[in-house]
Symmetry: C2
Subunit: 428 residues, 2 copies
C-alpha cells in the first residue's frame, strides 16, 4: 500500500492547501515511474497554475524532479564553473559569444541547451548551421572539452530530471505552461542537476518574452534565485528587455554570423552590452573579479576560445554559413524615426520563414530568418530597406509579411524617442 | 483542419473566460470521439471546477453531452411520464416505494438507476438482493413494462450520453468530481436524454450527502432546475436533509424489506413522509392533481404495482430476502436522549460491512448493512441495542465499529432536542 494517492494530492492543491514534502516527493516519483497517470498530473498542474505553490513547495518540487534522475559533477575540473540560462527571446544569440568569452576569462562554462519551439530560437539550432558541428556529447567528452577549451554548448542528456522532461511535454498540450512554480522548477531542476557552481539567469520581459509584464517576470526571477541559492548554487538574475529583438538578426546561421562579429570586437551595441553584463555576473559568481571581459573581446582571446569550442565539436569555424535561396525586402513606409520594432512580430516572422519549428519533430532551415536594418531610435527614409526576409521557400514570404504588419512604427522626424534600458534590474 | 483545438479551449477557461457555444460543442464531441485526450479534458475539468461556468455554458455543455448519444422517446405511451433523481444519501431507498406508488396513481415512471460507489447505496444493488430480479432491460422491454405495469427501475443503457460516461470516469480519478457545472450537466444530460416528461430532483444536504452545505446544495438544485426547464422537462427540486440517515436501515436487502413495509402501509415515518412528498411533486409535474398518493398506499394499490414491477423483471416478491451470517450489536452508552446519528458514519459503516463497493468492479453483499433501533429524539437506556451491524464476513466488524465511534450522541434525559425538517425547501 502506497503512502499517498494521486486524488488526495490533487484535492489538497485544488482546495488551496499547501502540499506536504511527503506528498510532493511521492507524486513526482510516482509520476516519473508511471503510477500517477498523465490525466492526474494534468489536473494537478492546472490546480497548481490556478492556486499556486509557495516557496517551500516549489523548492521541494524542484528537489523531487532532480531526484528523479542523475546529477552531473564538475568538481574534478581545475577551474570553477558558471552557467547562464535565458528564459527565451527573439534574436537572443547571447550564449554564442558569452560561453567562449567567459572561458577566455578562466571560468568553465557547461552550457546544456535546447532546441527552439515556437517564436523563440534554440541555441542548438543556431549552432547546427555551422557545417560539421554536433550537439550530442557524452559526459566524458563534455568534461574533457570543459577542461581543455573551457566552454561547451551541447544537448542535455536524457538522464537529467526525467520527471521534468515528461511534465514539460504534458504541460505543452494541456494549457499549463504558464505557471511560475512549474516554469521555475523546470528550469532550475535541470540547472541544479547539471552541477554548475554558479548560475546567471537572464529573465526576459516584454512582448517577445514568455513573461509579458514586469511583475510576473520579477516573481519568476526571485523564485528561481531562491531555488538556486537554496540548493547551494550561487544564483543571480538580470531582468532584461525583450520588447525589441536583440541585435540585427533573428534566425539560425545569421545569428551565428552576428555572434562572430561580436567576438571579433564589433557587432550590435546591445548584443555586446548584454554579453558583457552577463559575463561579469558569471565571473563574479565563480569568484573571478580581476578580469575585465571587455579586454578578452578586444584582445582576440574570446574568439580563440570560440574557434576551439566549435572545432572540438566537429564544426568548421572558417566554413561559409548557409545562404538563403530567396530574400524579400520590406521598406520603410515614410521618412522619420523608427520608434518601435516589436520582438514578437519579428520572432513570429522568422519562425514562419522556416527558422523555427511548430512541432518538436520538425526540421529548421539553417539560413532562414529576418534581418533588420534599423533599430528603434534610428532615422529612416521612405523606401529604404527596413527588414530583409530570408528563406529557402518563397511561398513563406506572404505569411511572414502579414505577421510584420503593425509590428513597427515610423514617426515623423523630430518625434522624441526615449530608449528603454536593456538591463532593467538585477535580482540576487 | 478543425474548428478549434483543445489547448485554446483550456486556456480560455483557465483564464476565466466564458466558453463559446462552438467551443463547447467541439470539445465535448472531440472528447467523445477521442480527439481531445484524457489529460486535456482533465485539465479543462479542473479549470471548470476552479473558475466555474455560467448558466448558458452549462446548458450548452449539457446539450452537447446529450448530442453525444441517443435519446429515448416515451411519446408512444398512453400515460404521462415522471422521473425522480436523488443526489445520493444513506438509507435512501425512496425510489423503491416511490416508483410503484406513482405508477398506482396513473403516471408512468421510467427510472434509470445506477449502482452504488462509496458510502451511498445504489438502487440497483438493493433490488438485486431480490431473488431472480434483473436490472438489464432492452428498450422494448422497458417500454412494454411502462405501458403494462407503469413503473420500471432498470440500468441505463450505454447509448445515453456516452460523453458523460467517459467524463464521469475521468473526474473520479482526477479530483474533479465536486464541480457544480459538471455534476449538474452529468445528471441532467442523462435525465433529459432519457426522455421523461417531468422530473423531481431530491437534492440532499448534510454530512451524509455529497453537498455538505446548504448554499452549494441550493446552487446545484437551481442549476439543475434551470437546465431541465430550459430543455422542456418540467423540473422541480426538493432540498432534503441528509445529516441523519433515512429510515432505520442502510444496506441492500434490509432496505428492500423496509420499502415493502412502507408499501404495506407501515414503515418509518420519515421514509413515508419523503416518499409522499416526492410522489406529490411527480404527479403534479405530470399534470395529475386529483389523486392523493397516501390513499394508494392505504388501499394496497401501490403494493400491487410493486409486486407486478418486481415480477416483470424476473424477481420473486414473496421470496425470503437474504439474511446476514453474522451480526453484532452496538449498545447505548448511557440513559438519555439520542440527539445525533450521523449519516456519514452510518453510511461508511454499512459500506465497510460489505453493502457497498470501493471500486466499480467489486461485488456487494446482499444482506450486509446497518440497522438502527432509535432515531434522533428517541429516549434510550444504557445497554439497550442502538445499532445492529450485519455482514457475512465477521472480520469486517472492527473497522465498521471504529467508523461509528463518535457517530452518535446520547445526552442526559431532559436535554431538549429540536428535530430539523426533512424537506428543507422546494425549488422550481
Amino acid at each position: 500500500m502506497s503512502e499517498h494517492d494521486a486524488v488526495e494530492v490533487i484535492l489538497a492543491k485544488r482546495d488551496g492547501h499547501e502540499l506536504s514534502e511527503s506528498q510532493i516527493d511521492w507524486v513526482v516519483a510516482a509520476y516519473t515511474r508511471g503510477d500517477v497517470a498523465e490525466e492526474q498530473m494534468s489536473a494537478l498542474a492546472m490546480a497548481i497554475l490556478l492556486n499556486g505553490m509557495d516557496r517551500r513547495e516549489i523548492a521541494r518540487w524542484t528537489a523531487a524532479m532532480i531526484a528523479s534522475g542523475e546529477r552531473m559533477d564538475f568538481s574534478s575540473l581545475s577551474r570553477p564553473t558558471s552557467d547562464k540560462h535565458s528564459t527565451g527571446g527573439v534574436g537572443d544569440k547571447i550564449t554564442l559569444p558569452l560561453a567562449p568569452l567567459v572561458a577566455a576569462c578562466g571560468v568553465a562554462v557547461p552550457q546544456l541547451s535546447g532546441r527552439g519551439l515556437g517564436h523563440t530560437g534554440g541555441t542548438l539550432d543556431k549552432l547546427e548551421s555551422i557545417p560539421g558541428w554536433r550537439a550530442a556529447l557524452s559526459t566524458e567528452e563534455m568534461l574533457a572539452q570543459l577542461e581543455d577549451v573551457g566552454a561547451v554548448i551541447c544537448a542535455a542528456g536524457d538522464g537529467l530530471a526525467p520527471a521534468d522532461k515528461k511534465l514539460y511535454a504534458l504541460r505543452d498540450v494541456t494549457g499549463t505552461v504558464e505557471a511560475i512554480p512549474l516554469i521555475a522548477s523546470s528550469i532550475m531542476s535541470k540547472k541544479i542537476a547539471e552541477g554548475t557552481g554558479s548560475l546567471v539567469l537572464d529573465v526576459k520581459v516584454g512582448t517577445g518574452a514568455f513573461m509579458k509584464d514586469q511583475a510576473r517576470a520579477r516573481e519568476l526571477a526571485e523564485t528561481m534565485v531562491a531555488l538556486g541559492t537554496g540548493a547551494g548554487v550561487r544564483t543571480v538574475a538580470l531582468l532584461t528587455d525583450m520588447s525589441t529583438p536583440l541585435g540585427l538578426s533573428a534566425g539560425n546561421g545569421i545569428e551565428v554570423a552576428e555572434s562572430v562579429e561580436v567576438l571579433a570586437g564589433g557587432g550590435p551595441a546591445d548584443v555586446v552590452e548584454l554579453t558583457l553584463a552577463l559575463a561579469r555576473e558569471m565571473l563574479a559568481g565563480a569568484g573571478v573579479t580581476d578580469v575585465d571581459p571587455a579586454d578578452r573581446l578586444a584582445d582576440g582571446s574570446a574568439m580563440d576560445a570560440w574557434v576551439r569550442m566549435i572545432r572540438a565539436q566537429g564544426g568548421d569555424p572558417q566554413a561559409a554559413l548557409p545562404i538563403a535561396r530567396e530574400s524579400h525586402v520590406v521598406t520603410a513606409p515614410a521618412d522619420g524615426v523608427l520608434t518601435r520594432l516589436d520582438a514578437m512580430a519579428v520572432g513570429l516572422a522568422a519562425w514562419r520563414l522556416g527558422a523555427g519549428r511548430a512541432r518538436k519533430e520538425d526540421p529548421v532551415q539553417a539560413a532562414a530568418g529576418v534581418r533588420w536594418h534599423a533599430r528603434p531610435g534610428d532615422m529612416v527614409r521612405a523606401g529604404q530597406p527596413l527588414l530583409t526576409l530570408l528563406t529557402d521557400e518563397p511561398e513563406r514570404f506572404e505569411r511572414a509579411r502579414a505577421t510584420l504588419e503593425g509590428g513597427y512604427d515610423v514617426a515623423p522626424a523630430g518625434t522624441s524617442y526615449t530608449p528603454s534600458p536593456l538591463v532593467i534590474d538585477r535580482i540576487s
